[in-house]
Symmetry: C2
Subunit: 353 residues, 2 copies
């Protein structure tokens, strides 16, 4: 069970793989408690079986990033067992949002195959999202009310972030601070919750839990930067999304908004291309170049690095002080301090590919 | 606070009105904790304000039937205060399903005005449904894990019922037992949960809680029969739905399925009318007459009466025995015993109009 805990030289791939083998049996047991209708759709969405419920239709599921955060932040090895239900709950809540997201965005594919609503219809996908959210809440209530409240708060922020994301589609201009706030809410909130829960089940006090929540938020925003870069330049064979997916959908992602608000000629030209109805691959490739030339790609990479460095310092500070961070995490979690930029180090310890 | 408790001669209207005045302030406080985006949509849906957040746009909200059940089943007057958060949670969970239902059914109006998705879009309505469900779960987790589990179980059954309801749309024939099971899950489960919660917060043991849950299920199925009759013959000015609404939508409601499976010539003719694409008022009026002539309307009324009589006997039995029902509620809650039909008495104590 302790194999998830950090050992020198373990890769992110190994951590995630270990997490999946630890969490998946518990997740299957939890999903097995659902009525057959909801279990069927959930299992399809999670990649466990095909549309007819056959295991031949199984595929690789999600990365299990959030459960990994719960387990990694569970301080002591003997807290891992207690952390598993929390890890399952966070992953179920995450997947409930994916089921709804795919409906909202009208996305036909996820993880290289048809989305649940494309197979079972919009109605059943909405219902299955509710089933997973309900299951997640019930599991956390069984741990303790604070666990339930952590998820509740994270979900409300996440939903607000998704609302802003939807509102962006109707707006021609979006300011960068709002875009960062949206990303922090949409992705950071639940990753913060994952880390906070890991700390909570290890017996952490409220202050320590809050430190870990912020740490997870930083990681989440870093992850979103990386994910947004992949949403434009990612290899479709790896991401499972069409090439230039986010540009095709006119998504106001972090690097795109940076470029649009850069005040550069490239940013202006990008705005024009995105205003047009083009879906031609050549035009989208041109738009991607414009995001790059306007500095959007480099900015997102720098931001991701800064946030990760900051998160790592926070975590080390918490570990060293036994509760209090030695780093500057008392400040606004939303913006990594500029001084940290000079200290950039290695890349993301948790691969998003 | 004790005014909600039964006093001789109090009408259902008065009980519901008292419930609303007791529960609504707490519900507003709970909804006020949501992010502004979700609060705004929830408040519109709940009838508290118009699309712009102005109280001038307020309208009458829901009937507050489920919160009334929580309060009425809270045994002692001094348990009412403890019951209010549970009542709020159940009403929020119920409204989360309405927000999603309206999306799923593509309904444009509810309670005499535009549905939330028609005003704010499908995406925001799905998100707001998630926000209310999350809020409900968190509130119950604060009471105790059993409360959370009662809602969890009820929601899963409700979602399964809604799934079956959706599946019915694709099927040309539906058997009556499946239709009753669907209605019990879709409506009975959450009403059962409401009654169980009222008992739980009053300190009822597991056995007593289970009795109240079944009692609420019976009430819920009776309510669904009455609601289905209103869905065909209800006055649009009262129901807020178009005339012959359920026939227009080809809804396989209880009286309709009874008629379709009656083996009568009227039932056969009804099947033909519903297979056609007609939306003409004259044709729908004819279809309504066919449901009536095939016995669907009378059957639903009898069923509602039987279920209510049965529920009343269960409740009286529980009250008299201090935990055990004196009636035959140890049997299958899904079907009122035939012997009860002879004992039909007065109409529904809780008006659905």
């Amino acid at each position: 069970m302790g194999s998830v805990h950090a050992q020198a030289g373990r890769t992110a791939h190994e951590v995630l793989s270990d997490t999946r083998s630890l969490v998946e049996p518990a997740m299957r047991s939890a999903v097995d408690t659902l009525p057959e209708s909801m279990r069927h759709i959930a299992g399809y969405h999670l990649g466990w079986w095909g549309r007819d419920g056959d295991t031949a239709g199984a595929t690789a599921g999600g990365k299990a990033l959030r459960p990994a955060l719960v387990l990694l932040t569970a301080k002591a090895t003997n807290a891992i067992a207690a952390a598993v239900p929390a890890a399952v709950a966070v992953e179920l809540a995450h997947n409930s949002t994916l089921l709804h997201d795919d409906v909202i965005d009208g996305d036909h594919t996820r993880r290289h195959r048809l989305t649940a609503w494309s197979v079972f219809g919009v109605g059943d996908a909405i219902l299955a999202g509710g089933a997973l959210l309900t299951l997640a809440s019930t599991m956390l209530a069984d741990i303790e009310p604070r666990a339930s409240r952590l998820l509740g708060d994270a979900m409300q922020r996440l939903l607000d972030g998704q609302h802003i994301d939807i509102a962006f589609e109707r707006e021609s201009t979006v300011d960068l601070a709002t875009c960062e706030r949206m990303s922090l809410a949409k992705t950071g909130a639940l990753m913060g919750c994952a880390c906070a829960l890991g700390c909570l089940v290890s017996g952490g006090d409220d202050e320590r839990v809050e430190h870990f929540r912020r740490f997870g938020e930083h990681l989440g925003l870093a992850f979103q930067h990386t994910d947004d870069v992949l949403g434009i330049w990612g290899d479709p064979a790896v991401t499972g999304k069409p090439v230039y997916s986010d540009l095709r959908n006119r998504k106001k992602s972090l690097p795109v908004v940076y470029a649009l608000t850069s005040g550069t000629p490239e940013g202006q030209e990008l705005a024009e291309v995105l205003r047009s109805n083009t879906e031609s691959r050549a035009e989208l490739a041109h738009a991607a170049r414009l995001v790059d030339d306007a500095g959007g790609r480099a900015w997102s990479r720098t931001q991701a690095d800064d946030l990760l460095t900051h998160a790592a310092r926070t975590a080390l500070g918490v570990a060293a002080s036994g509760g209090r961070s030695g780093a500057d995490d008392a400040g606004d979690a939303r913006r990594p301090s500029r001084s940290l930029r000079a200290e950039r180090r290695n890349r993301c310890p948790v691969s998003t590919s």
